[in-house]
Amino acid sequence: MKVIKIDKNKWTKGLDTARESYQLFGPVKIKENHCFAPLKRDQQPDMTVVDTVLSPKSTVFPQTEKLMTATLDTSKPNHHLMERADTDYSPRAVIGIRPFDARAIDLVKLNFDTKDHRDPYWCDAHDATTFVGLAVNTPSQFDFSTSMDSGPFDEKGLDVLLVDMDTGYLAKILTPKGEAFMACAGFNREATAGDLQKMEELKKAAEQAITTQVETDNLREKSLLDLHQAPFWDDVAFSCINCGTCTFVCPTCWCFDIQDETKGNNTTRFRNWDSCMSPLFTLHGSGHNPRGEKTQRVRQRFMHKLKYFLDKYDQGTMCVGCGRCVKSCPVNIDIREVCNVMNAYEPQK
């Protein structure tokens, strides 16, 4: 696997060269917060921010995405026929995505790209994207990625892993897509054995800096129904205000709602992020709501992430330990605590 060395004073120029062939996304400051957004012509990604409030999932799964369009104009031969929206899937690159977020995109792929169904919107965006990750040298107190099968230097889901070495970056090329991006940016100086050793040291230090341990080892063996019927859910849920914050900031939450909007003769079909925290999410046309109570919705979020997903795909939990929901939840519902409680739960016989 090739590792390339990039001087920081050549970084911007390289990105500018790459912009001619790729649309770039990266962390930028929007008011007081950092978010991933398409970079404007002269805009540089902020490579110092440890984590953005929202995850970069929007780069392949926008909060509002146009899926299809139709005309209602009966003089047109294709009137009232939904046709796929004309979306630009030319090459793009997400710069500075953190390893846990790339791992999350890998997990989401399990859902959008299955043997039986391929979500064309998500998959086409994913295929068009090169993920140029940035290792986390100093993890925040909210980061528990090492417990969730990821970590500050995790390579899963990435095409390139950058490591900030102070005066420059080391770029570990992980896939042909990553190789093509680096070549396009004109980065090609090979790293030395000394560089590689320093990189290993940084990796160890970063992993050790994560002090939160979350236990997940029993989750697979636990009975789904026992966990579902466990008595602790009411207490977990009491403080929850059922906002969608935790699911909107989460890199692995993928649920969506489909809406049609018509203006004049033009109809558009959109999908919007949705949230299992909202009562409307499961409201049936009949008026029945299988998750009408707050506790049922809170339980759903944790059970989906930490049990159903694990049982279904056998690829770990649907939480990568980024800690965003812990940080943003207005009432401090902490998935680390809930996970430990679930993992330790023994039903009373």
Partner: protein, 315 residues
Amino acid sequence: MESYIEQIRTLAVDLLKSGKVDVVIGYRRGSVPMATVPFMARTPEQAKQLTWDSHCTLNLANYLTNRQEKIGIIAKGCDSRNIVNHIVENKINRDQLHIIGVPCKGMVNPKELQTLLDDEIISCAETGSTLTIASSQAEIKIEREDHLRNNCSLCTHRNPVIYDDLVGEAVEEPVLDDPFKDVNAIEAMDADEKWNYFDDLLDGCIRCYACRNACPLCYCPTCFVDESDPQWVGKGQNDTDIKTFHFLRAFHCAGRCTDCGACEAACPMDIHVRAFTRKLIKDSKELFGWEAGMDISKRPPLDTFAPDDPNDFIK
């Protein structure tokens, strides 16, 4: 604060032991720095987890809606005013409640505290009026009064307006020279400036509805934004739809909003949504001589008629 915590726990334990209430709603310590968790103690043992500090930013009246038990509830000034609203609007009965009033010294804004240190805050402790915040690299002491949340710095009802027990002594109520300076500044803008101001204000809103859900006033079984038949508002990230949500929600709070700041405390994107409700607070005061949540015998101005209404269009 230490004496507050002691008294809150003693009162709550007694209430639960004597069976006067079934549960006590208050705050317990959070799992991360500068966080508290709204918490319901069912046993005297659990009541020992109740706490109080400068981070009790949510409004506990939000947890009362339509509950059936006998409830002890911890209430600072604004919580108590929202409890009054809840009683007036038949969301809870006065007889069901035992209110433990807490004279409030203001809550701090954690995001502002974070700007005081370069690295992430990993601990925050308080003694008296002083907070000690620390990152892995540095530690500083600050005065609570200097870093209050915006709504707390504008609050003139720090003492609970309704209570059964009061924790400690009442605090002095601040007198403000110009309480609506912020609203006046927006009113003075011309149409274009206002347009841009509100555009910028809502830039970044992700429609998670944390503001709405944290608000004790927003208890409708189906919010107008969630209604699908008829559908009043588009659901996507369209500017007009986002604005519609915020404008309409604010109007629904007219004459009811207590400026408790729970909406802003809950917002993950730091949107200053009180810019809307504060205009309505000012209007309520100027047009109707009304402050929300002060008296359980009075109905809010928008659902009542008075022959001595100070406004002359009605006469």
